[in-house]
Symmetry: C2
Subunit: 398 residues, 2 copies
């Protein structure tokens, strides 16, 4: 039989990161590609004890759960959110399979195929995939080290009347940028004036290298949940462990109810095993101490990579030292195509993500995203050496 595929799926590019992840499985490949947390820092023992408590609670732990997610975990999350000046109740929150699903469901609820949406340039590649699958037109506003540039966003809004704004204002993926408070305020009022909801994607906000840094979320700045402008998404993947695949979305309860309807069709509900484990974990384990510990370690790993690259005094290679998150965003010499560089680098045993994956259109090809959280020490050293070798060879060639 010959199949006729959905045109949207057929035209979808597979995620470069995940394809590279697949290629590199089991080989002597040092990967700076995936956004992988450090395995040796996973709180395995605490998760194990939490799982034990779930099983001890008896067989009902293994039953079907609510589409909205395990209520005790939502209640605990509401407390955690309140500590960040985000005051929500469990009806304003839904648990999802990672924040990726939260984004997919919100987009499904808040847009129609053919709608236009506004993003920062560059932006998270797996969100770009969501937008493509939903048949959206993506327009991207320029950004600098203070975040999205309000004047450019304003111009695009005037010209294209986008339906909503998707943004990662704190430790953006791929750039690691943090929006200034002034920019946050400006974008928030711009979106409100134009009746544009905002999806604020915040998987990395907790991973900050200076504890004293405070970056108020757009959600907290808006301060209004019902009929509010901002829908906030986040995840336990970076702070506890990705395998537990638990993220969440929060905002206006009417929209969250719509998201739940869409989720019923998508998968009924996410793993309640994982949600119960996380709930048990939160009641015993000091998650904030753990987040401090991993943030400290990730800060050191970032410095390791930063220093190794700096020592090389690479010509026309620049980056901004990130204050948090998981990525170093390199601008490479003009005219260099990072996709070609990747093919060369992979042969030398190091992987990264070419920056072009993070652009909806007109990619800036001389860019690369390097993850610094997964490797450390000799691995990072060797990986950077291989990367620099590829870069040298490649620039010599091109």
């Amino acid at each position: 039989m010959n199949y006729r595929f959905s045109s949207r799926v057929a035209q979808l590019k597979s995620s470069a990161v995940r394809d590279i992840l697949k290629l590199t499985q089991g080989k002597d490949m040092i990967s700076f590609a995936g956004g992988l947390p450090a395995e040796e820092l996973f709180p395995v023992q605490a998760v194990r004890e939490a799982a034990d408590r779930v099983f001890a609670a008896g067989p009902s732990a293994l039953q079907y759960g609510l589409t909205e997610g395990y209520l005790p975990l939502r209640e605990q999350l509401c407390e955690r959110m309140a500590a960040k000046q985000m005051i929500v109740n469990p009806e304003q929150m839904i648990l999802t399979t990672g924040s990726q699903q939260a984004i997919d469901l919100l987009i499904g609820v808040l847009t129609e195929p053919g709608d236009t949406i506004l993003v920062e340039r560059p932006t998270y590649l797996a969100s770009l995939q969501v937008f493509a699958l939903h048949g959206l037109k993506v327009i991207a506003a320029e950004s600098d080290e203070h975040g999205i540039i309000p004047e450019d966003a304003e111009r695009l809004i005037r010209e294209h009347r986008p339906k909503l704004l998707y943004a990662v204002p704190t430790f953006g993926n791929p750039t690691g940028r943090v929006w200034s408070v002034e920019r946050r305020q400006k974008l928030l009022s711009l979106c409100k004036q134009n009746q544009m909801p905002i999806i604020e994607d915040d998987p990395y906000g907790d991973i900050k290298f200076d504890e004293k840094d405070q970056f108020p979320t757009l959600f907290s700045l808006d301060g209004q949940v019902e009929k509010g402008a901002v829908f906030y998404t986040s995840t336990f993947s970076k702070t506890v462990a990705p395998a537990l695949r638990t993220g969440w979305a929060m905002g206006d309860s009417g929209v969250i109810r719509m998201v739940a309807k869409a989720k019923q069709a998508a998968d009924l509900h996410s793993s309640t095993m994982d949600q119960q484990i996380l709930s048990q974990l939160l009641s015993g384990f000091k998650l904030d101490d753990h987040i401090r510990l991993i943030s400290k370690s990730y800060g050191e790993r970032m410095l390791e990579m930063h220093n190794l690259l700096k020592q090389q005094a690479l010509k026309d290679v620049t980056w901004v030292k990130p204050k948090g998150g998981m990525f170093l965003w390199l601008e490479l010499p003009d005219g260099l195509d990072a996709e070609a560089l990747l093919r060369c680098a992979v042969q030398k045993g190091v992987a990264f993500v070419p920056g072009s994956s993070f652009y909806a259109e007109n990619p800036q090809r001389n860019t690369a995203r390097l993850n610094y959280t997964y490797n450390t020490g000799a691995r990072t050293e060797q990986g950077v050496a291989r990367f620099v070798e590829a870069l040298g060879e490649f620039t010599a060639r091109s």
Copy 2:
């Protein structure tokens, strides 16, 4: 801010079953509504030991996984499928968040909004939700106790040129019907002649009350995986436990790759914690013995409910005694609206699903789906008594 919702989501009815499940949580409500397995039969100890082995394997168990799912579990599943004459390799299989997600993703890959699809009348309500969300037009062929009626399917195919067939040929939801082998063969060749792929949804096939019964799947009858006509979906929710939310889809490897691309956008991957637990479970625990045990118990529970209803000699209430699965499908007196009956029944402390939920259009309102696997003994007795009381009162009123 006022939101403009996606028209498809806005028009979507919430699942009656899940809404009832929500209503009934924590109340003295005997629920025959959800398709819930019996909690006391969950293999809690075996799952717990399996989880222990996952944690003992070290921190990498908590890392991100492949979109296609944990490879060892796919390999084990391929062996299990081979024992049912379904010969597939891991590239022809993807693990999903329950079989619900498998259906959603396959529909996303194999249809365009506006396409028509063919189903059996009545059919699984959560699949109808998927079709609505994907903007599909649904046409339903009549069925009897031997399954979908080929002549009616043929007529509809000729008139509407549907893109594919969705079916639950073994222990259908809601009817519990089993398609005869002859009907299976006829539908299969009909679909092949018309270049229509089939999604064969088989969550209940293992739950059969007579071990000797053999119902060959459409997938095995087709016998062809690459370029094959059939995509098969199933789940561990009924045979192990729903909280582990692990289902799968299998078929042509090119289509499975497309499904993986769509899944990358939808949620990157499902819980690898759950997938690893299941993999460990399958290597130690005798799952087939467990399936025999629950099937035996469910057969007894079905008989309990069947006999209780039979004793009442209810006027103009008929049903076919199921050979497996989880549901009793009642036809109630002509003119009785089971949705109104439900409101009355819930006040008496018993819930079920009105049959109208299972029709894409022109619902047969005098039908009801009763689950018999969740309750037993005095609970079933009391629930049936309440149901009969509501029915009596209601028919007296109407």
